[in-house]
Symmetry: C3
Subunit: 206 residues, 3 copies
Amino acid sequence: MQQAVELLAVITSGVYGVMLAKRHHMDFVGVFSLALIVAFGGGTLRDLFLDRHPLFWIGRHHYTVIIFILALVTSVFPALPKSTEDFLHLPDSLGLGLFSVAGAIAALEAGTSLFIASLMGVITGTFGGVIGDIVCNKVPSLFRPAPLCATCSFSGCWLLFSLTALSVPESYAVPVAISSIVLFRLAAIRWNWQLPHDPVETDDGN
Amino acid sequence: MQQAVELLAVITSGVYGVMLAKRHHMDFVGVFSLALIVAFGGGTLRDLFLDRHPLFWIGRHHYTVIIFILALVTSVFPALPKSTEDFLHLPDSLGLGLFSVAGAIAALEAGTSLFIASLMGVITGTFGGVIGDIVCNKVPSLFRPAPLCATCSFSGCWLLFSLTALSVPESYAVPVAISSIVLFRLAAIRWNWQLPHDPVETDDGN
Amino acid sequence: MQQAVELLAVITSGVYGVMLAKRHHMDFVGVFSLALIVAFGGGTLRDLFLDRHPLFWIGRHHYTVIIFILALVTSVFPALPKSTEDFLHLPDSLGLGLFSVAGAIAALEAGTSLFIASLMGVITGTFGGVIGDIVCNKVPSLFRPAPLCATCSFSGCWLLFSLTALSVPESYAVPVAISSIVLFRLAAIRWNWQLPHDPVETDDGN
C-alpha cells in the first residue's frame, strides 16, 4: 500500500517536472532532467542532510526508469493541456502528504530534534519543486503568496509527533497525519487559503 | 564567548536572508526559508563537502528555532527600513570573520590541504548569501564588482595558517585572524575597495 | 595518460567557466568561482550522491590550485576572443568523454544499477555547466534545443556497459567508449544534430 502511494507520488512529481520543462520549451534532456529533479530533489536533500545512503532513488532504482519512460511518453505530446494541472491536484496532494511524513520519520530515525524533523518533512515534500523552479530561472513559487503548501506539510508533521506523544500506535498516526496534509492542501487550493502578505505586491511575479 | 559570536553570526545572516526575502515580496514560508538558506547554506556546503555529520545546524538544533522566531518577529513588519543594512555591517563582518575561520579550521581537521582549507573558509563565510541570491533569481553579488568580501575571508584564512606555521598558539592566532577579516571587511565597505574590473560594465546589474 | 586527459578536462571546463563569468562582467572572485563550479560541479554531485569521500577535487588538491592560476592568468585579458569557443570544441569533447566514463565507472564500483550508472556518467560529464548556467541566472543550455551533448554521454556509457557485458577487457572498452563520446559530440556540433523539438519556440531564449 505505502509502496503504491510512494510510486504514485514519484510519478505525480515527475509529471509536474515535465510540465515545467515543456513550459520552458526544453527538449527531451530537459524534460527528463526536470522530471528527475522535481521527483527526487526534496528526498535527495533530506538524504544528503541526514547522511542516508544509498539515496532513495539509487536504492529503488526502478524509480529512475519509470521517470525515463514518463518523459519519453510525454515528450510525444507537443504540450500537456492546461487542465492536466487541475487533474493533478489529488495525486499531488497525496505526494505532498506521503513525502512529508516519510521525510519526518526518516529524520526522527536519524535522531534529530522534532523541529528539525518537521523541517525535513517539509523539505522532502516540497523542495523538489523549489529546485525545479530555481533551475527554470524563477523565484520558487513555494516562497511567494499562494495557497498553503509548506504550512500543510509542517502542521501534518506536528500532528504526527503529537499523536505519537499521546501513544497512538504508528499504524494509526501515520495515515491520519498523511490524510490531514492531503485534506488541508486540497482545502487550501479549493478556497485559496494563503498566509498573510502585503496585498499590493503579489502581482509583480516573474 | 565563541558560542556567543557564532550565535550572533547566525542571527545576522538570518536577518540578511529576511531582508532578501522581503525585497522579493515573499510570504512567511519564503522569509523563513531564505533566512535558513543564508544562515546555514555556507556551513552546509562545507559539512557536505567534508563529510561532517551531523550538519552543524542539525547538531545545534536550537539554531533553527532561533531563525524561526526571527522570521516570525520580522514578518510582522511590512519591510525592514533600508538603514537596517548599515546597522548590520558590524555583525555581518563579525559573522564573515567567525564563519570563515571556523570553516578553515574544520577543513584542516578533516585533513585537507591549506589551499582547500582557505576555500572552505571562504565558502563557509560567504556562500549562504550566494545561494540566497541564486534562489532569488539574481547573479550572486559576491561574484560581481563590489566592496571586497571573499578576499577578506581568503586573506584572513592565510593569516591564520601563517601564524600557526610560526608556532603562534591557536588561542592568539584565531582571534587575530577573525579580527583581521572583520577590520579588512569594514574598511573595504567604508572606502569602497574593489578588485580591478572593467569600469564600464558594472552598471548592467540585474 | 588518463591523468593527463583528466587534467586537460579540468582545465577545459575551467576555461568554459571563465568565459561564462566574463560574459556576466564578474570580477576575479566570480571568475575563479565559476571556473571551480563548472570544472568540479558535476563530479561533486556524483561524489555526494554516491557518498565518495574525499571529493575528487579535495583528494587531488592541485586541481584547485591549477584553476586558481587559470583564473589569475585569464583575468588579465579584458575578454576572451569569441573564437576561443571554437578552439575549445576538441578539449571540451575530450572532457565530456572522460568525465562521463569516469562517472559511470565510479557508480558501478559503488554498486548502482546500470541505468543509474549511466545517469551518473551524464551528470559527471555535463552538470558542471548546468550549475554554472543556473548561477549565471539562465535556464541551463543542456536542457534546451542545441547540438547533442547529454545524449552523446549517455550512449557512450551504454556502449561501455555493452562491451563489458561482451567480455571485452576494460583496457579496450574504456578508450573505445571515451572515443565514441568525443566523436559523437564533435559530429553533433559539426552537423548540428539535435533532439526533436518544437521548431517555433527555440528562439525565445533567455
